[in-house]
Symmetry: C2
Subunit: 346 residues, 2 copies
DNA sequence: ATGAAAGCGCTAACAA
DNA sequence: TTGTTAGCGCTTTCAT
């Protein structure tokens, strides 16, 4: 921490390396950025000095010159308390790993929750980041619109809901496919009365997932009750109680839920009614959150391939940054089903 | 995304502003960094042009000159799957918010899980960050040692376990106090046989928390069984079953756990034995994770004041960066207890 | 209170 | 294949 300590080891610069290696600064620069231009022995000599000195190019200087920071901006939102939606964590980690492979880093910034644009402008004007990854497309297209307008590169995790055909690079996971997978899984376990427990109709993501349940039911020549509620455990618990009141041949014995939170709410209702999860009633959640993993007796859930999402995003980012036309600027990935005891009939 | 778009709106520079305002570049710089040096009317005029143009200083140039990036490095680790430990999420968010208030941003980097030093060196040599926040102090002091050796500023979230007196700025939350709080809470609910369910003795954090349970029990003139197991739901479930076998006056009716995962495991055991959480047996978890919030019937848990931790860290960071002696370089914060139905006797 | 000059460390363009 | 020159946008002297 002492200042003299810090001064005692001044960081080597290009000039230091050049002098030590008996070449010009430019040659050192080339050794780093265009090694194929150097003769083999020169390269080796320069490389040796670089290693010996532990030289790393100064990022600020490089950034000033190349106008590229190798930083990707990501607005980091708080995980909602009270729900089991802890996707962000896994996604961010995947993104950090994926960007590291191309020499980029993630720059986190905060934003006023009520102003989707807050934070973006400042970083843009300061040329602090090369590009953005936008995660909250469900909230509207304000950020994407802004970035497109000023010509700032970005990729979104989430399709452009309002403009399905928008010429904008995005990666998303099919919620419809996830719910379809879940429904088919319950059908295969001989459930017939399968209910949908989802979010309010204003949620695009919720409606997308719901459509998958509907499609699978229709394909089986069935129909089931669909309920739209708020995303919390209690609302789901109460809704489940109501749905389980029914009797007769098409009584509900299966639940496909828009979130793990809702799925856990159903499990609570089952516990209160003395019904056995999996055996009497099958329940599937969504997002494979920590909650689904630790809750009793284990909640079957739709899992998004976030690691793959991150990789594809970085690939698109690369294309966008190099101004090359991207091969496939819109990519829909498929989720998988993680089966646990809430859908196993033993 | 088109290049012409980007060129059509070249970012204004100091020179642009200076010309528009009819002053020298230096005056504009002063308006930004030392406004008190300017005459009032000059300042107003310059400020007006800055606002009009939407000028923001180029970070790279400023960084090159001042050798300060206003970036704080944070190695982002994966949240452990299968446990309910999703602290990182909340902490990172708090940190982003706290650093934003001082004009700093968080730079995330990945690291080889097996090499605690990986990632640090590179960022240091590239002068990419001004300081680091270290979160995995329980794993040893390799990072802190490295950073101290090269004179790089850092603050740790977590005390220096191996060297309690180390002259190193840190912020931590007292796990002992948390477990004490939990135990006292159960004692107040007339529980007497209170067990400790914790991690292996090699975990400093685990032993710290355990000591709080022990202290509270001793203060009440009691003693209880302490069990050390791996941090997963099943291990806790089985351990709880065993502990609940006992009968007689000092049979176990309360559990203080080192994590929510373990607490949830106990709840599973209760469900399997037909015991009512809260009423028959009280259970307290640790960390107030999403799992504690959504699990049935709600798990009482010790909550760390992560928002406050972040604020204190930023305060220490500030001191460390300005090379001023920090008022109190080691700060221990107190956790709180979030009471839910797992400890309520109705 | 304001301006002029210098230079942070790097790379693009050009020259040798 | 290597070296020279210039300048990215800013702030730190120092002069006015």
């Amino acid at each position: 921490m002492s200042p003299d300590r810090r001064l005692s080891e001044p960081h080597p610069t290009l000039a230091t390396v050049a002098e030590r290696a008996g070449v010009s600064r430019q040659t050192v620069s080339n050794a780093l950025n265009n090694p194929e231009l150097l003769r083999e022995d020169t390269l080796a000599r320069v490389q040796a000095v670089i290693d010996e000195l532990g030289y790393t190019p100064n990022r600020a200087a490089r950034q000033l010159r190349t106008r590229s920071s190798h930083l990707i901006g990501l607005r980091f939102e708080q995980a909602q308390e009270g729900t089991s939606n802890a996707l962000m964590d896994r996604f961010v980690h995947s993104l950090v790993e994926a960007t590291a492979r191309t020499g980029h880093h993630i720059l986190l910034f905060a934003g006023d929750p009520d102003d989707p644009l807050d934070g973006y402008r400042e970083l843009l004007r300061a040329t602090a980041v090369d590009a953005f990854v936008i995660t909250d497309t469900y909230a509207g297209t304000a950020q994407a619109d802004l970035l497109r307008r000023v010509g700032a590169p970005f990729v979104t995790f989430g399709r452009p809901w309002d403009e399905p055909g928008a010429a904008q690079p995005w990666v998303d996971v099919s919620g419809a496919r996830g719910a379809e997978l879940a429904t088919e899984h319950l059908l295969a376990a001989a459930h017939r009365g399968i209910a949908w427990l989802g979010w309010e109709a204003s949620s695009r993501i919720g409606e997308d997932r719901r459509s998958g349940w509907q499609a699978a039911m229709r394909a089986a020549g069935l129909d089931g009750p669909g309920v739209r509620i708020a995303d919390n455990v209690d609302a789901a618990r109460m809704a489940a109680h109501e749905l389980l009141e029914g009797t007769g041949p098409d009584r509900v014995t299966g639940f496909v839920c828009a979130s793990d939170t809702l799925g856990i709410g159903v499990l609570h209702a089952l516990a209160e009614r003395g019904l056995r999860p999996g055996i009497d009633v099958g329940v599937v959640g969504f997002d494979d959150s920590l909650g689904a993993q630790v809750t009793w007796p284990g909640l079957t859930s739709v899992r998004q391939p976030l690691e793959q999402v991150a990789i594809e995003i970085v690939e698109l980012l690369h294309g966008v940054l190099s101004l090359k036309p991207v091969r496939e600027p819109a990519r829909m990935l498929e989720p998988t089903l993680v089966v646990r005891r809430s859908t196993q009939r033993e």
